[in-house]
């Protein structure tokens, strides 16, 4: 991924068009720190910080954020369930899962539930900012392990096939290269496309993964009524 990302359109225009970020994190001090960190970026602003998944479902849709950061472990409603419900309400909003532990299995579960990427909580502020901008521009970077899991998931036999959720040849090609350890930049070189194109392919992959697994995994959260007030 290109590191030379100066600014993007909306932050250039005026202070009003800063990237609107919402946050779901149960620990007050941590929540506050995240909010301060996000607000310290010139092109981002934290429009809302919720303590629970239930609160997030109630408050966030009204705030119309562009990106939502969700802690994977929340009391009562888990971060994964919260992601799934938020994605259902705000399909256009990008959701990033925050996790303290680098556990690809959990990350994959979050991606299946509709997350558009994940970040380790110990991420450096500069990287956080880039990631926030990236996820809006295209798909969040995908690790080779997740790419491998995504391929597996789409190849799983006996799954009800949704034609709109099938991977295109190019997307599968990109996933294969990712799983073999190639970076987005190298993939772009190899396939003679731009890095941005690679990212946008990945963005489609994320949404297809979500559609693809909605029938199986996500329906489980959706089948029960959301909590009162949500």
């Amino acid at each position: 991924m290109t590191k030379s990302l100066p600014t993007i359109q909306f932050s250039e225009a005026s202070g009003k068009s800063r990237l609107r970020v919402a946050l779901v994190e149960d620990q007050p001090k941590v929540r506050e720190s995240w909010a301060r960190l996000i607000n310290s970026f010139p092109d981002c602003s934290c429009v809302c910080a919720c303590a629970t998944g239930e609160e997030a479902l109630r408050v966030i849709p009204g705030e119309k954020p562009q990106v939502i950061l969700v802690d994977i472990f929340l009391p009562r409603m888990s971060g994964i369930e919260c992601t799934s419900r938020l994605k259902e309400m705000l399909p256009e909003t990008q959701i990033i899962i925050l996790t303290a532990m680098d556990d690809q299995e959990l990350v994959f579960m979050a991606l299946e539930a509709g997350a558009d990427g994940y970040l380790l909580k110990r991420i450096k502020p500069a990287e956080l900012r880039l990631a926030l901008l990236d996820v809006l521009r295209g798909g969040a970077p995908m690790t080779s392990q997740v790419a491998r899991r995504v391929i597996e998931s789409f190849r799983r036999p006996g799954k009800p096939k949704d034609e709109t959720a099938a991977l295109s040849v190019r997307e599968e090609q990109i996933l294969q290269l990712l799983s073999q350890g190639y970076s987005n930049k190298l993939i772009a070189d190899r396939l003679e496309i731009s890095v941005d194109t690679v990212c946008s392919h990945l963005k489609h992959v994320y949404s297809k993964l979500h559609v693809n697994s909605r029938t199986a995994a996500v329906v489980r959260y959706m089948s029960s009524k959301p909590p009162a007030g949500a």
Binding site: V30, S33, W34, R36, S40, F73, D103
Partner: protein, 488 residues
Amino acid sequence: MRPSHFTPGLILSLAAPLGFCLALPSVVNAQTNVRDGLQTNPPPIAIESSTNGLGSWIWASHTTDRQTCRLWRSIEIPATATVTHAELRMTVDNEFVLFLDGRNLGRGGEWNELFDFNLTYLLAPGPHVLAVEAYNDSDYAGLILGMEVDLSDGRRIDIKSDDNWRVVPNTEKHWETATRSSEKWPRATVIGPLGTKPWWLEPHRVNTMELLLPIKVPFWRTGWFQISVLAVCGAAILVSLRLVGQLAIHRRERWLLQKERGRIARDIHDDVGSRLTQLVLHGEVAQSELPPESATRQQIDQICQEAREVLSTMDEILWGLNPKRDTYRDFTSYICGYAQGFLKSTEIQCLFDVAPQTASVVLELPFRRALLMAVKESLNNAVKHSGATEIMLRMACEGQTLAVILSDNGRGFDPARAKPGRNGLANMAQRLEEVGGSCRVTSRPGQGCRTELSVRLRHRLRPRSWRWSAEERSGRAQPSDPLETNYS
């Protein structure tokens, strides 16, 4: 016997014309036939010696009609010799059943004929019991018996019907196998010697009874065999029960160990991990609010960096501890992530070739650790010494063997000149050997270096134990990994 039925005159008057007709071609034979009375069937065997060795007629002290009389005696065949021939001839007026050692040898019901039993094969050295259950229909009653036993050393044992026989009361049970007589059994009464009226001097016929052979007991029906089989079965059952018990205890211990590991990991994670993460976050916030030139900002940055490194080390330890991350997929995923992270800051491009899983194997903590350490060591060597631009990491699991192969395109080295121990190769091999695996490093100058690690794993008996599977089912709805619950 009914005396009125038998008079020589009657026999002669009846038999003479018949015998005459039959024996017409030979006058000599006719004479014999007359002496044999009514006997017209195949000519009798030589009976000159048929009465040799016979004893006296014996019976109980009283004779009644429809009387059952049990006569018993024991005999002893010397242990020093084998029996070459043994023959017993007897008859009873009116019927008898003969037993030897409780075995029914046969029966006879004709008082004027003798019954010949060949006991050669039944008389093994040692004590034996002769028993006769005799039955009198009416009037005269008696038993006559003679037995000759020839021994290999030339001796001969004669047993006759005499007062050495005992009369066994009819109420006695298992008398035909009793080896000792009771004082209550009276001696048999001798009625008279051979030839006593109304009986014969010569029997009318000698019936040779079917040759008697020892009853062959198949080996699986012999007592000792059945007892040994039972004993073996019993022992096997006991051993199995013991093993089952041990297995149960072992399983329980394993489960407890896993649970305990999970708890430790969760504690580390919840307490140390989350607080360290918060620390990094707070540090970053503090840093971002300082002026860029501030020296403190640099220091805080270093602290944060240090804390991040501690966190990744912790991730590694927790990955090892987590009992749920023991599949091939978890392993390959972790190793790939590790390699990518490790090589990120270098010029080396890391490529993967991960074969899909074919067998269900368990990667337990010792295997995971040993392999991870070896992979780390190899990557370290590659970064430090190889000058490679690309490292290929291949992983495959065929059957129970997991192979991890790292090959680089660096400058390689001459294995003969590499000092073992200095480059960590020996260390690596030792780690793998400890878990029953192997490590092979091949390299040639200018040809890169190839490290092959392989271990043999245990098959997963069931997908997961039921305690975990319940969590697995709900795992999607809510991450309920023992490590991660309640964590935020």
